[in-house]
Symmetry: C2
Subunit: 432 residues, 2 copies
């Protein structure tokens, strides 16, 4: 029998407990191991979570759980980067295997925690830290182990995907949809973490570490949120054949790794464009396997619990067969170095607020040309002589550095009213 | 160092060899194990496969490979159910671990082979047997281990998906598109295996065994091919909001398992409807994780090779950590029993060739009503008094047995010209 202790009895803790209790039979059939939920620690042991627990397993004292010599696996579901870190390091130091769903912690202090686990020869499971129920960590580490990973594109934050989907479907403003999402419980009261792309960036750091090693951290990820997106840009994207998604991108180019989270225009016929609402998806391209995509719920008690319990089962198998460390936490990989955002190349969508008079396009395209940015197409909507109208430009691949410099120059033109908008565009050159 | 021998140097054999040779460094970095391609056996050792092999590794004698005491893992890529079976059983009897991509063999003689491997305590990897590069075997066995699987829906044959996609896009006849597919190498000269759903049924038997245990075989799978599909039905499906796909379905209902492969109408907004061309996808619904989908190339040298090599890496890890048998091949699962096709319930699309005169619909719907089949919608296209016109009926959930009986009665009506067409419809009741 393998004993499990859960610390943190919130949403995911409840889901995990209920799976361990309700699906114990099927876990035993499949693994041959009896996995027993022995303790749950949480500050609040009063609140009814709607599940029936065996008597006496709840405790308010984390130590009771950490000091229990019979507990093999500690599941950290507290969240945050302070208490959670202490708890994990303590559990490791006591020789316990750890499972966590804590992306913020791993993306911030991952190196330290992985090192500690490696030293103590304990397992550290983190399937639940990225994309909820989608077993993407296992897929990249094991299923696609034979591949050089060319690129990872993820819709890995349900809140922002829900908001962008609604903005697209209802041609609604960001602020309206955010309010609605908050009412429905899809967005937090303070939505910063999600809408500014921080959550996606945490998860991307983890995916990138798996794909490109060594350990990337949140600091390596370039990041833009979605709060500035206007329905007008979504509509122009549609006209041009694109959907707007908050993509987390890890990509190898010229031997370096690009890591970036930002609103991205994706060709509407790509499968990932069709991932709507709170769902997540991760597209992985490997040199052997080609294009693959993994889709499912990225959050929620039961989907995330499913991922937590898959880690528990894996670790239980390793304990029983005495093969702890079977998959190295930090293999001696050379690892790729990070590409500076300045050097990143992308296609771009620009929306200029340009005064409607002759010669404007020539001025703007002249500046773009000077910076080696070549144009694929131009849309000018509406006529309003002497007033500002939107002028939309789609470009071929260009260097970020050049784009920023060109926009700076364009924004200074008297014929351009206000700051120009730019959105990066994905898809193979020549796809359109 | 772990030594690998490949038997069968065809398409997948070549892909596997090239991954083992070209990505040896990355496999070593990730697994910490040096995986060495030691021998390749094939009857034809002359033909140029376009890859550079180390000297002396090719042999025409399978025995040379099987008798080599230094080979740990034998990869069977011969195909078919005769020689391949001998080779695998011989390899097992010599204590070698086996990796195979052979779905026909596993779906036919799986029980015998798994038993032999279990007895000899060797590993049997078969990731490549279903859905090519998509790591679906690992996903179901490990990633979703915590879930009771509710349903598996697969587009797991690229040839038929290519044909149906082309028929849909070009409103073309089956026979035309088949010819085109043969020219492009997407369909074999004798396409029976693919177009009659046999290949899908083999793979479904494997997926069902993983999901519902014990071991299901090809004999348990109800099967219909796509050669009788007409562009007219694809067009009616589109009008009704559906795409036509050859789905492989394993589903638990009332404690029994339905296993069936047949053309299926799927709501066009479902993600799996958007899987086009030669791509494969498997949708898996678990009680905890909810809806998930896995997408990628289902065939080809490199994608399938990617799956073969992931098995090799897994087994190498188990050999090195002395944890062979870590994942049981045939866990002591009670297993679900098979539901008879007669008892399967589904929604249905009917197309009657009905004489255009008053009272016809009333007669047909009367018979349907008698068999407890209730109608969702009716389309009658074109008017041609006294002549046969298509009459399309969409139903609520009904029992297969009743549907067959009702159709028999309807086909006997003098107002119905020729045999009626029926296609099963998936999607949640009330979705439309």
């Amino acid at each position: 029998m393998i004993n499990v202790g859960i610390i943190g009895f919130g949403t995911v803790g409840t889901g995990t407990a209920s799976i361990l209790l309700n699906n114990r039979d099927i876990l035993r059939e499949r693994t041959g191991i009896d996995i027993n939920l022995r303790r749950i620690a949480d500050l609040d042991i009063k609140r009814d979570r709607g599940i029936k627990l065996p008597k006496g397993i709840l405790t308010a004292k984390t130590e009771e759980l950490l000091d229990d010599p019979d507990i093999h696996i500690v599941v950290e579901l507290i969240g945050g980067t302070t208490v959670a870190k202490d708890v994990i390091l303590k559990a490791i130091s006591k020789g316990k295997h750890v499972v966590t769903a804590n992306k913020a912690l791993l993306a911030t202090h991952g190196a330290e925690i992985f090192r500690a686990a490696g030293k103590q020869k304990v397992e550290l499971g983190f399937e639940a830290s990225v994309a909820g129920g989608i077993p993407i960590v296992k897929v990249i580490r094991e299923g696609l182990v034979a591949n050089r990973i060319r690129a990872v594109y993820g819709i890995i934050n349900g809140t922002t995907n829900y908001i962008l989907t609604k903005m697209t479907e209802e041609k609604a403003e960001f602020s309206e949809v955010l309010k609605e999402a908050q009412k429905l419980g899809y967005a937090e009261a303070d939505p910063t973490y999600d809408i500014e792309g921080i959550d996606s960036a945490h998860k991307l750091a983890i995916l990138a570490s798996l794909s490109y090693g060594p350990r990337f951290s949140i600091k390596d990820v370039y990041r833009e949120g979605i709060s500035w997106i206007s329905p007008m840009d979504i509509e122009f994207a549609r006209e041009l054949g694109y959907k707007l998604k908050l993509l987390a991108i890890a990509k190898e180019s010229d031997g370096k790794v690009e890591l970036r989270v930002h609103p991205t225009m994706v060709p509407e016929e790509y499968l990932i464009s069709k991932v709507d609402g709170v769902y997540n998806a991760v597209y992985v391209e490997g040199d052997a396997v080609g294009s693959t995509l993994y889709y499912g719920r990225g959050a929620g008690d039961m989907p995330t619990g499913s991922a937590v319990v898959s880690d528990i089962a894996d670790i239980a198998r390793n304990i029983v067969t005495n093969s702890v460390g079977r998959i190295s936490l930090d293999p001696s990989r050379k690892g790729k170095s990070l590409m500076k955002m300045d050097d990143v190349q992308s296609m771009y969508y620009f929306r200029f607020s340009a005064i409607d008079k002759p010669g404007v396009l020539s001025k703007i395209s002249g500046i773009l040309g000077k910076y080696n940015i070549s144009i694929v197409s131009v849309i000018q909507k509406g006529r309003h002589e002497g007033k500002a109208v939107p002028l939309v430009v789609l470009t071929h691949r260009a260097k970020e550095k050049n784009v920023l410099a060109a926009l700076k120059e364009i924004n200074r033109l008297s014929i351009v009213a206000g700051k120009s908008v730019f959105i990066r565009v994905e898809g193979k050159e020549g796809d359109r």
